[in-house]
């Protein structure tokens, strides 16, 4: 569906995307992760055939965006980072006019709009002004709009940013269903749990480059240990958590210092914890858990993500 070699995007002197390679096969759910300004949206916009490529090669649905922009866009669904709904039109009309841009007959667009409103649970809001919708509803409407042309490839730039947990779960459920229907999904996100749940494959970007690549499980296996021991000490500790890190450095494969706790990475979390206690340290709270994508991030350059 997408293939890129040495793909670059420059804005004047500034390089936003610095030579990335991508291959997204049909039916995959592919995720871009990375800190703010990593170049995720810039990459997405090139794939969406709205932003000219500055260097390298890009094929989307087998076509070159430079020469076949309208043909590519005809088969894409795009949910941009910022909503671009027409806030003065009502909910249903937003879908109707958008469907017409794809050259679909009016009758078909009407049927499709009603189906999609049902799909994103906005049927009872069909006549509401977009202005009066909540953030989550707007996002759902944007997703409905991106599906109006039955796209082969759906591009979602931070689909759930700014939503409450409830609204995020509704959206995830809809995306799961689309995935089950074989739609190829490409999404960007700041949320590790979202990436872990939705994506078959992830790339982590930082400063315009891909710094890690693989399935969520692969990434955890490659960049983290099996388990993590979290230690939280009282605020009165001299020198804070950083000073304590030296005392336990040899007990784990890696120790990560966060402002409020220490993370000890090892294969056996309970064993590590026992050794900590042997040293006579008395953490105020402990937690032994499996590694998640979040731990991968603490290790990778994209650290600002979790701050």
């Amino acid at each position: 569906m997408i293939s890129a070699r040495g793909l670059r995007k420059e804005f004047g002197d500034f390089t936003a995307v610095d030579g990335i390679d991508l291959d997204v096969p049909a039916g995959q759910a592919f995720g871009f992760l990375g800190p703010i300004g990593a170049g995720k949206s810039s990459s997405m916009r090139m794939i969406a055939a709205v932003s000219p490529v500055s260097g390298g090669e890009l094929r989307v649905l087998g076509m070159d965006p430079a020469t076949h922009g309208p043909q590519i866009r005809a088969r894409l669904g795009v949910c941009p980072q910022d909503d671009t709904l027409d806030v003065e039109l009502n909910v249903r009309d937003n879908l109707l006019v958008y469907g017409r841009y794809f050259g679909l007959p009016r009758g078909e667009v009407r049927d499709r709009a009603d189906e999609l409103l049902e799909f994103v649970q906005l049927t009872d809001k069909a006549k509401a002004r977009v202005d009066d919708l909540s953030g989550g509803m707007k996002r759902r409407l944007t997703i409905a709009r991106s599906l109006i042309n039955r796209p082969d490839l759906l591009l979602l730039d931070e689909p759930t940013t700014g939503l409450d947990p409830q609204a995020r779960h509704v959206l995830w459920d809809r995306l799961f269903r689309l995935k089950a229907q074989g739609v190829t999904l490409v999404l960007t996100t700041h949320y590790m749990d979202e990436a872990e749940q939705l994506c078959d494959r992830l790339v982590v970007m930082d400063k315009g480059r891909i710094v890690a690549d693989g399935s969520p499980l692969d990434l955890i296996r490659t960049h983290s240990t099996r388990e993590v021991t979290e230690l939280r000490f009282g605020v009165s500790v001299d020198g804070g958590h950083a000073a304590l890190a030296d005392q336990v450095a040899d007990l784990a494969d890696r120790v990560e210092v966060l402002p409020d706790r220490l993370l000890l990475y090892s294969a056996q979390g309970e064993e590590t914890l026992a050794k900590v206690h042997e040293r006579g340290l008395q953490p105020a709270a402990v937690l032994v858990r499996r590694s998640t994508l979040e731990d991968v991030f603490l290790h990778l350059p994209g650290r600002s993500l979790v701050d």
């Binding site: 087998g62 671009t84 709904l85 190829t184």
Partner: protein, 281 residues
């Protein structure tokens, strides 16, 4: 709902069979539904302003103030009365206002605030088709405004011939479009709307007052007269006046038409260029 019809099952991309791009005309046609809905949402407001405002102006300035002005036709570009003189000026000024108001803040909003254009270029629509569709909408709005204006004024007896009035319709649409296209191009390159407010004060309003709508520009000092005659509004006013007062002069009319046509063409080209620079980055 059934889950199978929400999206296409995956198709294999086939580079060899890339379909041809839809024509610009086709893409413009696809935006008719959008603009029709915009029209339905706004027509009552614009109708009031395109009907009431000019009527008030014409009554106040043309009829009441004009009653004090007792000039001979030679000084009024051949118009039989001040009312007959001022009416084409008013309507040309009105058409300028409609053209500019449709392509100033609305264009800004499409780029920056509501980002309607950003949503549109994510579809098969192209920037030229977006500009042309919006200008076509402006032309339609101008048609309604001009038709209403002329119908309201017909009873005042200021339209010398019916065919002149009829010919004035496309001419006035051209005047409005010339302004709309240039204003589109201008606005598309702006970063904030403060400049727009300035433009209204330093360009639009003075042009309305000094480009021959209310008095013949020959009244102005030579330099200012020359300046006034360079403005698009003067060309629009003169040409409209020739038609409504039955004083058509072929050569002069052609100059006006070419000027306005060239301006509309340049504006359209400029708008496409500047909107592309804003959106396709």
């Amino acid at each position: 709902m059934s889950s199978t019809d929400t999206a296409n099952p995956t198709r294999t991309p086939s580079p060899a069979a890339a379909p041809t791009a839809p024509s610009t005309r086709e893409l413009v046609a696809r935006q008719v539904d959008y603009w029709w809905r915009v029209y339905l949402r706004t027509w009552h407001g614009t109708l009031a302003s395109s009907f009431l405002m000019p009527l008030l102006y014409v009554v106040a300035i043309g009829v009441l103030l004009g009653g004090y002005i007792d000039s001979d036709p030679d000084q009024l570009a051949g118009a039989p009365s001040y009312l007959a003189f001022v009416v084409p000026g008013m309507i040309a000024g009105q058409v300028m206002t409609v053209g500019v108001s449709e392509t100033s803040w609305p264009v800004m909003s499409g780029i920056k605030w509501q980002k309607v254009y950003v949503g549109q270029i994510a579809t098969p629509l192209t920037v030229p088709s977006i500009v042309l569709a919006q200008l076509a909408f402006v032309a339609f709005r101008l048609l309604v405004a001009v038709a209403v204006f002329l119908l309201v004024l017909a009873p005042f007896g200021v339209l010398a011939t019916w065919w002149g009035a009829l010919l004035a319709v496309p001419v006035l649409i051209l005047v409005g479009l010339a302004f709309a296209a240039v204003c589109f191009g201008f606005t598309a390159g702006l970063d904030s709307d403060t400049t727009l407010t300035v433009i209204y004060r330093v360009a639009i309003l003075p042009m309305f007052l000094f480009s021959g709508a209310f008095f013949p520009v020959s009244q102005l000092p030579a330099v200012l007269e020359w300046l006034a005659k360079a403005t698009p509004l003067w060309h629009g006013v003169s040409l409209t006046r020739m038609l409504t007062t039955d004083t058509l002069a072929g050569g002069q009319a052609l100059v006006h038409l070419v000027y306005l046509g060239a301006l509309a063409a340049f504006g359209t080209w400029w708008a496409v260029r500047r909107l592309t620079a804003k959106l396709v980055v």
